[in-house]
Symmetry: C2
Subunit: 306 residues, 2 copies
């Protein structure tokens, strides 16, 4: 991980892995940096039905492994480290990681997003004791128990359906009067007797002793508070882009996402952004993968022209 690279890719989800595949096929001296597990958010998905090419769906972890294997076949070089800074230098950019400073002529920022927190009392205290952001990871701990899923989008409804395979009851708590999820998913959720929608409702507090025992709910329509007995609470209310270290260096939108042009370029020539980390991303694996391929092609053109 010493020496200079032509392309450094920050983040190993579908965007970063697809960028890496393309970059490796171009025989560029390239390095992929990932702080946790290759695959990104998709490793949390039990089954992905909307990644084209897989008519019966594909496991999130399986898809991550397939992508990694494919990039590896063409010689992907990768390293597990967290990037904490990015700076300009004469020949390009300096990537500052936990344990190294690496020079690169171009950078593809593909660090994705992290789970949004509820930010209510008790949430942080009970993480791992009943509060979870990953149904696929933790559902097994709630066999024949009662849980709540907080959220109303595709992720929340998909994970609520998954939880019904384990839990005896799944309260689907959403702040609005209607879910945001696609109609197919809504129909499935409403047809599932284990799922109990709790609409117009927000979580005010997570309560328990050695583990979660109940949620304090607030109905935004009636203004009333009420407790709800649960053994666990899953949260799927969105994501925060992993752009803290980029603030002041790249132009970000109000949500903290990287602003990009039509060629996935940023305000820094030679720095591109791909996937969930950028503005206007659809937060879908196939969109992130397409972004990764495009960013790799644009970086390749930039290197040729430089």
């Amino acid at each position: 991980m010493t020496g200079d690279y032509e392309i450094i890719i920050i983040g190993g989800g579908p965007a970063g892995l697809t960028a890496a595949l393309y970059v490796a096929m171009s025989r560029r001296r390239a390095l992929l940096l990932e702080k946790a597990l290759l695959g990104g958010q998709i490793v949390n998905a039990d089954r992905i039905e909307n990644f084209p090419g897989f008519p019966s769906g594909v496991g999130g972890m399986e898809l991550a492994e397939l992508m990694q294997k494919q990039a590896g076949r063409f010689g992907l070089e990768s390293s597990y480290t967290e990037v904490t800074g990015l700076a300009a230098e004469d020949a390009g950019y300096l990537v500052i990681a936990e344990d190294a400073r690496i020079s690169a002529r171009t950078v593809i920022v593909a660090g994705g997003s992290e789970h949004q927190k509820l930010n209510v009392p008790g949430e942080a205290e009970f993480v791992g004791k009943g509060v979870s952001y990953c149904a696929t990871c933790d559902a097994n701990f709630f066999r024949d128990r009662t849980v709540a899923m907080v959220g109303g989008g595709n992720a929340a409804v998909t994970e609520a359906l998954y939880l019904t395979r384990f839990a005896s009851r799944v309260y689907l708590v959403h702040r609005r009067g209607e879910l945001r999820a696609t109609r197919v998913l809504q129909e499935r959720a409403f047809a599932e007797p284990k799922i109990v929608p709790v609409l117009d409702t927000v979580v005010e507090q997570v309560r328990g002793d050695s583990a979660v025992r109940e949620l304090l709910l607030h109905n935004v329509r009636t203004g009333t508070d009420s407790p709800l007995k649960v053994d666990g609470v899953f949260v799927a209310i969105g994501f925060r882009p992993n752009t803290g270290y980029l603030r002041g260096f790249l132009d970000l939108d109000p949500q903290g996402q990287v602003m990009t042009g039509a060629r996935l370029d940023t305000n820094r020539p030679g720095v591109f952004a791909a996937g969930d980390i950028r503005s206007n991303s659809g937060r879908q694996a196939v969109i992130a993968a397409g972004d990764g391929a495009a960013a790799a092609l644009f970086a390749e053109e930039y290197l040729r022209g430089a």
Copy 2:
């Protein structure tokens, strides 16, 4: 194919099929129109190595069938007809096809591109008699024969390599002094003894009798003309976007590609463009697929907001 639709998708390549998958999962009243064969350009690809999720590569026709099956699982409605016009009307848009006029609130233009022609004497005359735009389709006719591949990009070099499995010699004719293809492909081509690069050279004429016999070549560096004996000539010099019917209705770039904003929106509200048909597309299956998913999500948002 009568009645009104919420979304009409024009074109059934990776962009259109992925848009259809997303739209079908949203239970929108949607219709996919395709003039030829579902799959688009990828059906001409013998093997696709850079579509993420397929570490050993996947046949182009096979990938097209997988995508079609997946969208079909969620109830894709499609029809084989050529779209010849698009017009605004009160409630949205009127799609004018060969045999029908169909109203839609939103339209996703995903018609891709067609093969660019050489536009030299003899080319049109010998199509199907030695002139081909699809190595995968026609290579088998040139077993132990001599052929030329015209072009220098990834498509040309990929198809030249494929042709070596059939032909005894493949001249790779390119107008520039260097190929545009990725280094991996260039290395493979230069390591293949059957491939003979003919650089700085353009085709002036295709000559023959009942079939192609020779090409008249022009060296742009020396200015000299010379004949080259071949039994066939394959052309892979790019694509023309299928936007003839959109001229004057949608804003197009100088290459005739649809101009899009950050949300794949066009100058007509509710009309989106996805895949090879739009400006700045990377002309890759996975980029087109990502575009299709994004366009479907943006069309969905548009319908919700309308």
